[in-house]
């Protein structure tokens, strides 16, 4: 009873009334070749079964070029199909059914290929959009666990799980922590090797078709990652409160780094040039606070930025009074390690002498250049005058 339930669930798939012939483990494992090629029933990475004569014979089939045409892919799959259809190892025991199931799956791929619209030209390399209509992971080996009452069964060689074409090459009994023990085989060693070789051939064909698109995906993800690195590490610096605010105020997704950045109460050290006299330009160190601003990033990888802020400034020299005005920000991510980002301000100071003409101020993004010690630097600037 237990066995029949198990077979119904694991081995027969959804095919009604089908029964699989159970091969006693002793008969399969007693073969001399089993010790070497028995991993055809498992997923062992060494895959010694690939060096068996049966599997090596599949190597005679022609390899696909790196960018095959639909006709070349079709021919490769048809060749695999023919090999399965003609293989004598599937003539006994469960072989005819295993062959039938395998052919059902291969035919499914060929049918899907025939339905591709518009049909690509035979002479043109197959593009991914066409290939994706028939490329799948269906030929992959599955592992499965099934508990029936108190017994646990495992298989490392299930294919087309849950489909009418489901195939289980071997079933083991699992108890406790240790390795599973033999329970039943549904394919001879030769059948298992031939089956695995056919599935591996299909996977290799699909792998060839997937590879260019996977490489494009990796390239695109590289751009996205570079975009985030440029934005967060090489862009206009963000104080923690700005970082949190920008997390909520900017439009972005993990796959789409932000193009914008709000500047909020952002202090910078700079120099104010008193250019009111054309004969002598005085220069004063100043603390500039960009009260509110906006920075825009450009390029796929957020390579460079430009922005505008409303800025207040204060210097050590009390005669300068408070200053206010706009600031332009510029920076280039790739040059950031050598050339600091620059901000240029035009500030109207409330000079003690009554003057109110604009002066120029420039800041380098020292916060970005010199990470440590900034707080002390700012504190010393702020201490004598108080923050605006």
């Amino acid at each position: 009873m237990l066995l029949s339930i198990l077979l119904a669930a694991l081995a027969q798939g959804t095919t009604p009334g089908a029964e699989w012939q159970v091969l006693p483990p002793e008969s399969v494992e007693a073969q001399t070749a089993f010790e070497r090629f028995g991993d055809a029933y498992s997923g062992a990475p060494e895959a010694n079964w690939k060096s068996a004569g049966l599997a090596r014979a599949w190597g005679e089939l022609e390899d696909l070029p790196a960018t095959p045409t639909l006709a070349e892919v079709s021919a490769a799959i048809a060749a695999a199909r023919a090999r399965v259809a003609e293989s004598a190892v599937f003539d006994e025991h469960n072989g005819p059914r295993i062959r039938r199931h395998l052919l059902l799956e291969i035919d499914g791929v060929l049918r899907a290929m025939a339905l591709t619209t518009p049909a690509p030209l035979d002479s043109e390399p197959l593009d991914w959009e066409t290939a994706r209509t028939f490329v799948s992971g269906r030929f992959e080996r599955e592992s499965a666990t099934l508990t029936v009452d108190d017994a646990t069964f495992v298989t490392d060689s299930m294919f087309f799980a849950g489909e009418p074409s489901q195939v289980v090459l071997r079933l083991d009994l699992k108890s406790g922590l240790g390795g599973a023990t033999p329970f039943a085989y549904y394919a001879t060693l030769e059948q298992a090797i031939e089956f695995r070789a056919a599935a591996a051939r299909m996977l290799a064909i699909f792998g060839t078709l997937v590879q260019p698109q996977l490489e494009r995906t990796a390239q695109r993800l590289g751009e996205i990652d570079a975009g985030w690195t440029n934005y967060l590490e090489h862009g206009f610096s963000q104080y923690p409160w700005e970082s949190w605010a920008n997390g909520w105020l900017t439009d972005f997704a993990w796959s789409r780094p932000p193009r914008s950045q709000w500047v909020l109460l952002h202090p910078e050290l700079g120099l104010v040039f008193d250019t009111r006299s054309t004969r002598s330009a005085e220069m004063e160190a100043a603390l500039l606070v960009h009260g509110l601003g906006y920075v825009r990033y450009f390029g796929d990888e957020r390579d460079w930025f430009a922005g505008l802020s409303a800025t207040a400034s204060i210097t050590d020299d009390a005669s300068y009074g408070w200053g206010f005005g706009p600031t332009l920000h510029f920076g280039h991510a790739r040059l950031a390690s050598r050339v600091p980002h620059v901000s240029v301000s035009v500030l109207w100071h409330d000079f003690e002498d009554g003057g109110n003409e604009p002066v120029l101020a420039a800041t380098l993004d020292l916060w970005r250049l010199v990470d440590r010690g900034n707080e002390l630097l700012y504190s010393s600037r702020l201490a004598p005058r108080g923050a605006p």
């Binding site: 990475p45 592992s143 949190w244 993990w254």
Partner: protein
């Protein structure tokens, strides 16, 4: 021939770019070599022919924040600028601590979790960084293995939450991968989460064009195994009962299928400080044997005498069994896994917990 690709995802803290996974790889290889047929092979042979480790790092994203923000610690906690942000209460708690060791633990480790939980840009950038490395690994695997999928993930601590979100977000971004990573074409063969924090650190904000935050809820997300739409063929969550990091919002799905999901709880340990370590988790045969059976696709791995020896080693190397360790930490939080926990409470708990750990 094909090699098993094992993607290793680290937890909190700074990790040396090229070498952080060496101890992980060493313990995995050492333990694998206690089982036939791998016991006959040298570590070099195994790495050359059987298994390839792909370290996945994301700490550099947090490092950028850490370096600059630590300088402004005091200002941040007292500043009105940060008031109202989710992290403000947590930062204020850190600033109030007179114990420098606690503060150091926060800046060196817990900040990562805080940024991941509260800073949308940090979370998004980490997902991007991890996704890129995952796909780089898949490109190499597909080429080397001639289309055979042997991709497994082993993640630890914060890395479990990072892995969860990265896989969910990446799969949904069809515009990026063109359908190559849809479950019909690709499923991770297994994901093993050690000290699973993915439920604790579920996102509170939107970081994906295709998905809502609700799609990242771990119990109902596409990571739930056992369906054709699943991202993974099998999912294992491992919890060391003494490990305090696993206590709040414990990962404990009730309706996941046993056929594809395994929940392993371990109780053996040696030093309390080591209960959260990757090495402690993996050195346990109740963890590494099922893991190796999955990684190597061989349920027969582990002969009775090998298992007996592994259990003896466990008793020798990890002689203590979980009881009610860390009572001071238990008092800090509600151990009901379904109770929510505030961010400030979580930060205090994590800081005090990591102070007790390596």
């Amino acid at each position: 021939m094909a090699r098993t690709y094992v993607f290793l995802v680290h937890g909190v803290g700074k990790h040396a770019a090229d070498t952080w996974s060496d101890p992980w790889q060493r313990v995995l290889i050492d333990k694998l070599r206690t089982f036939a047929p791998y016991s006959r092979r040298s570590p070099e042979e195994l790495e050359r022919e059987s298994i390839r480790f792909v370290p996945i790092g994301y700490d550099a994203v947090f490092e950028g924040f850490r370096q600059r923000w630590q300088n402004l610690a005091g200002a941040l906690a007292s500043s009105d600028f940060a008031a109202g942000t989710a992290a403000h209460g947590a930062l204020a708690w850190v600033a109030d601590q007179s114990d420098d060791a606690l503060k150091n633990v926060f800046w060196e480790k817990v900040l990562d979790a805080l940024l991941w939980a509260t800073n949308p840009h940090a979370r998004a950038a980490v997902i991007a960084r991890v996704s890129k490395q995952l796909v780089d690994g898949l490109v190499a695997m597909n080429e080397e293995n001639q289309g055979e999928n042997t991709a497994h993930i082993v993640a630890h601590s914060l890395g479990t939450s990072v892995t969860h979100d990265a896989l969910i977000a990446l799969r949904a971004a069809a515009g990026v991968h063109g359908g190559t990573l849809e479950p019909a074409r690709f499923q991770w063969r297994s994901v093993t989460m050690l000290a699973n924090t993915s439920r604790l650190l579920e996102p509170r904000f939107d970081v994906s064009d295709e998905l809502d935050p609700a799609d990242f809820k771990v119990y109902g997300s596409a990571m739930k195994p056992g369906a054709r739409s699943s991202l993974v063929k099998s999912y294992t969550s491992v919890r060391q009962r003494v490990d305090p990091i696993t206590w709040p919002r414990r990962f404990q799905p009730m309706d996941w299928p046993n056929s594809a999901y395994a929940d392993i709880e371990t109780v053996h340990f040696d030093q309390l400080a080591g209960v959260h370590d990757f090495e402690t988790y993996v050195a346990n045969p109740f963890v590494h044997l099922p893991l190796f059976q999955t990684l190597m696709g061989d349920s027969r791995l582990g002969k009775p005498e090998e298992v007996e020896r592994a259990l003896k080693d466990l008793d020798r190397d990890f002689p203590r069994v979980a009881d009610v360790e860390f009572p001071q930490l238990r008092a800090l939080i509600d151990l009901d896994p379904n109770r929510p926990i505030s961010l400030r409470q979580l930060v205090e708990f994590l800081v005090k917990a990591f102070r007790e750990l390596h």
